[in-house]
């Protein structure tokens, strides 16, 4: 049975322990435009932040981590899984939250959208319903079950997008500027949500406050890691460099 066998492989991959995100001599170019230059990193921490100027390669780096971008050269390993050859397993392991929630909400109403990923995973209907309710309650959307998604506030949309990813129970979550379009109150709300996650996270952001409690921060500059270390020093280095 074709589905069953491949399904078993994925299940086995889901049981893999979280070890590290590894980039080995990774370079990437869009067409002939180089964006990342020979990056080698091992990220074993639970909270990793990424900062850097516009166009420095942060989003490209983030997309490498769940195989949305496969590097032109080098290897990306997620807990030992190669994003080039084990894409499905990697995608199931790593959730991805984008900057613009409007672009990642695909169903017209709130509950239907949260359910989407579970349907793709083949989760049975009664369990889907239970997990969706659980997520909506956790993110303050329980009263908006059948609400049209485009009538939500910006903050609620981002929470919905996050719920749609977390309901699939990934081991890791990558956030690419999750708070850029939000006001201060909603930025704090999303920061708290990220803070409370049991998952390991990588957060790309221009909101440096988000990264205060983090284990490690990377500063990207022209496609290279220019600084790497504890948030206090790295962020100070980054801010000093701008002034």
């Amino acid at each position: 049975m074709r589905w069953g066998r491949r399904g078993a492989e994925v299940t086995a991959a889901a049981d893999l322990p979280r070890t590290a995100l590894e980039l080995q001599n990774v370079s990437h170019a869009y067409g002939d435009r180089p964006v990342l230059h020979d990056v080698t990193l091992t990220l074993g921490e639970s909270r990793v932040g990424v900062v850097g100027a516009n166009g420095s390669g942060k989003s490209t780096f983030a997309r490498l981590l769940n195989g949305l971008v496969v590097p032109s050269a080098g290897t990306v390993l997620v807990d030992g899984l190669d994003t080039r050859t084990q894409l499905r397993e990697v995608r199931r392991r790593v959730g991805f939250v984008f900057q613009d929630p409007d672009a990642q909400i695909v169903h017209p109403t709130v509950a239907e959208d949260v359910e989407f990923g579970l349907t793709n995973l083949g989760v049975p209907a009664d369990e889907r319903a239970r997990r969706v309710e659980d997520m909506l309650a956790r993110y303050g959307l329980a009263g908006h079950h059948d609400h049209p998604a485009h009538l939500l506030s910006g903050g609620q949309k981002q929470l919905l997008a996050i719920a749609g990813v977390l309901v699939m129970q990934p081991q890791r979550v990558v956030f690419d500027e999750p708070t850029t379009l939000l006001d201060l109150a909603n930025t704090r709300r999303v920061a708290r949500v990220i803070d409370e996650l049991e998952q390991h996270v990588v957060v790309v952001t221009h909101h440096l406050d988000l990264l205060t409690g983090f284990d490690r921060v990377l500063v990207f500059e022209d496609g290279r890691v220019a600084a790497d270390g504890a948030p206090a020093e790295t962020l100070r280095w980054y801010v000093d460099r701008l002034s």
Binding site: R88, R91, F98, A103, E112, N120, P124
Partner: protein, 214 residues
């Protein structure tokens, strides 16, 4: 503007199977256009309104909102008939359309999009032999309902931005920024679908069995 018009109240019409509601809607549509008697058509309109307000417990406001966009067309149609044919034919045509629009509104207001999409997926299942994937068809419909209002809203925002800078009315120049936004949206959307596992279709059998996606 919204196309997802589900009105969440508990009613027998809400609980009725989506397939049945769509079948009745289709039957009503066919029937209305075969019958030439004004009294029967008016009766149908009244019956639909009663179902909407009494059985489905829909607020009058929601129904009016649904019918409002078609008013101008109905008016044009009536005038056309008054000029070309006679008032009776005109009234018949307008009442027919009104009954149908209202009935369609009742179906969309009482049925979740997922349920409607499931019916469509069931209907296109025989096309599977030609390589059509029903789940894909369903996803396209759901996404259309999601993105039409979103894009309309973005267009409105661009119009406002241009108006703030002195431009008036609809201008061709509006299309360029809109196109840019839609393309950017589409690029991220494609990635989001990948990231959320939409590329991993589960066969209906495995979906029932709860097997993990391949």
């Amino acid at each position: 503007m919204t196309l997802a018009l589900y009105v969440p109240v508990a009613s027998p019409v809400h609980r009725a199977p989506a397939g049945l509601k769509l079948a009745l809607l289709t039957g009503l549509g066919a029937g209305l256009f075969l019958i030439e008697r004004l009294d029967v058509v008016v009766g149908a309109l009244v019956a639909v309104a009663v179902v909407a307000l009494a059985a489905a417990r829909l607020p009058l406001r929601a129904l009016v909102a649904q019918v409002r966009p078609v008013w101008p067309w109905l008016a044009v149609l009536l005038v056309f008939h008054l000029v070309v044919t006679d008032w009776r034919t005109g009234t018949l045509a307008v009442t027919r359309l009104l009954a149908l629009v209202l009935a369609a509104a009742v179906v969309t207001a009482t049925t979740r999009v997922t349920a409607l999409v499931a019916v469509v997926e069931w209907l296109v299942r025989p096309l599977g032999v030609f390589g059509v994937r029903p789940a894909r068809v369903g996803l396209v419909i759901a996404m259309t309902l999601r993105f039409v209002p979103l894009i309309a809203e973005r267009a409105q925002r661009i119009r406002e931005a241009q108006a703030a800078r002195g431009a008036t009315g609809m201008r061709l120049g509006m299309l360029v920024p809109l196109l840019v936004q839609v393309l950017r949206l589409a690029a991220t959307l494609g990635e989001a679908l990948d990231a959320r596992g939409a590329d991993a279709p589960v066969s209906p059998r495995d979906r029932r069995a709860g097997a993990p996606a391949p």
